[in-house]
Subunit: 408 residues, 2 copies
Amino acid sequence: MRKDLDRLMEERGLDALVVSGSTYGNPSLVYLLKGADVSRGIVVKKRGEEAVFIHSPIERDEAKATGLPLIDMSRYKFMNVLEEKGSHLAASVELYRRIFADLEVQGRVGFYGADDPGRAYVFLRTLDDALPDVEVVGEYERSVLAVARETKDADEVAQIREVARQTCEVMAATVEYLRRHRVRDGVLVDDDGSPLTVGTVKQHVLRLLAERRLEDPEGMIFAIGHDAGVPHSKGRPDDPIRLGQTIVYDLFPRRPGGYFFDVTRTFCLGSAPPEVEKAYQDVADCLDAVIAEAEVGVETRYLQQVACAFLEERGHPSIANDPQTTEGFVHLIGHGLGLSIHEEPSFYDVSNNTQTLQPGHVFTVEPGVYYPDRGYGVRIEDVIWLDEEGKVHNLTDLPKRLVVEMAG
Amino acid sequence: MRKDLDRLMEERGLDALVVSGSTYGNPSLVYLLKGADVSRGIVVKKRGEEAVFIHSPIERDEAKATGLPLIDMSRYKFMNVLEEKGSHLAASVELYRRIFADLEVQGRVGFYGADDPGRAYVFLRTLDDALPDVEVVGEYERSVLAVARETKDADEVAQIREVARQTCEVMAATVEYLRRHRVRDGVLVDDDGSPLTVGTVKQHVLRLLAERRLEDPEGMIFAIGHDAGVPHSKGRPDDPIRLGQTIVYDLFPRRPGGYFFDVTRTFCLGSAPPEVEKAYQDVADCLDAVIAEAEVGVETRYLQQVACAFLEERGHPSIANDPQTTEGFVHLIGHGLGLSIHEEPSFYDVSNNTQTLQPGHVFTVEPGVYYPDRGYGVRIEDVIWLDEEGKVHNLTDLPKRLVVEMAG
């Protein structure tokens, strides 16, 4: 949580941290700016002190909304520095030299945010050489910001709950929209008699999201038949919606500049083949079995083991026994969820993953089995939150049912 | 353009380039994957050879859509490598060692994409130390990918034109939507008599975008009165829409995983104060004057100089004379537009900016004057494309008029 940042910096011997870049695709910067509607900037936080936001002059009003102490970037006259230094690299080093002098930053300084990797490599090497009082630090995994972000405080959970409610509303409305279509020769048809396609359904979903001020930056999955059997297939836009085929509908929208939610339901319109019914029951039972094991202190990798063992017991292959299998359970049981769609904690079943579930964790549980060559796949995904007392909450208020009867 | 990549690599002595990360917020990766609907991966391109895409096994169908030679990431058994090496950093270095061995990559290798800067710094330093046959190269500005991307080929321009057409449609529909409202005490009101707000207008625009499969990842500007006088103010959601106040409406949506468009119109509903009329005419004339100077071979910084001189001549302050002014013309005259909302060419008026306009450039021209303390600002923005013969095309087919009469 945000309140842990100073402790985490202390543990890693960091005197300050710098988070920079565009806010777009930069959840750590968004996190420190508390979702303020700015396009870019630099946040500098010294250990034990409040973060300072160095913002663009043309975004001064939005910058105020962060509630952070502000520095207007125009103070540094970057164009003059650029003119004087002759290259963007030298000018950027000079800019940081001036900022660090103003804020009295020295010692071990960690750098975070989003940038081109080669550009960051050149810049941070040059900066490290240029500033004798600063040691540039990078963190490869589980950085202070990743660890702070992985446990959510009450305000963050409230924001996630609101996106959850609206996401479940959209999922339910989509199923209703499908049910109300007419059917011809086993295919859903529009009012004008043309087949309803995956592309048209997605358009409808995008409208439902927009009405709720949600966006779909990563691109929803609405995959039918064979494509439902390939976990990350997004679905082919021209595919018609047929009765009796499995549809994997995985929606993971977010509030612009805010938190994601993530939920998957699998269903068949009209009826389902017995083989799919059996697979569906296996996955639904696996979901319950994994959630039953989720409690504070349990190793995250244990949930992956539980899921693999459960589904293998029911006769499905899994990556636990065959890492390259494309049938059965072929992915991780879940992932942390927040300002990124995938964040800590991670559920890799490897011995150096010693993470345990903690109060404040918000993560998906999403068992699935996939049989592309048999034309189907099943995944069911809920989101779990462990509150401060360690109590388990399922944030996904949406029915699970394989067969959806048509309304007509 | 894409076809220039080998020449650009040759000029910079690069034997290979690596572009990696999530596709989200990573236009260089999207560029090499030609917009394929995958969530992440690694592209390796040796000079003179086709790029190879190393993709996730669960995205194998989407990976095929790139048309690139493919390697399924599962070949490298990353989980086993992680188990063996004991850390993500060591395992990632080993992964690249294996990929480079398979593809016979050695020599000077440039790294691009999107990553946490500290993480990239640690990884690339470690990789450079670990691989004796590879020299890790980062480019700080005008990288091979930035330069290739800044000139658009016919296929890219066709995609931008389509987004342009739809964006202008949405802008026009928004103005119609406003015109059709009733007015009470100088404020637009909804059917239920409550004041129409900036937030409600933006909701309507988001629906219009969603209907056209456009998204608004950077967040549109719809700012009225004082906020119109602050260039990047997004507008306050609760502000009511009043007659006679200037509205700056700047819309910059994109096709998901594709190209942006960017257009601004300023208008007043019902009537405009004489001072705003004068400012509007100055900005509209400045737009024409700058576009008249846009031709192949002209230095980009010259367009900035033209704009500053023109508006100063009309009595407005500009950053040319006072870099810290918050009144008058306070920003750059334009920016390149493509898979990023801001990309090359850049229009900084500094002596080390020696860029000239080239065939294939697509860029905004967006003069504006801002007077927040007087409660208004004006910006008008069109997009210009220089075709292969250097002919100037204005891609923005949308009327400009300051005063919009209400329909009622």
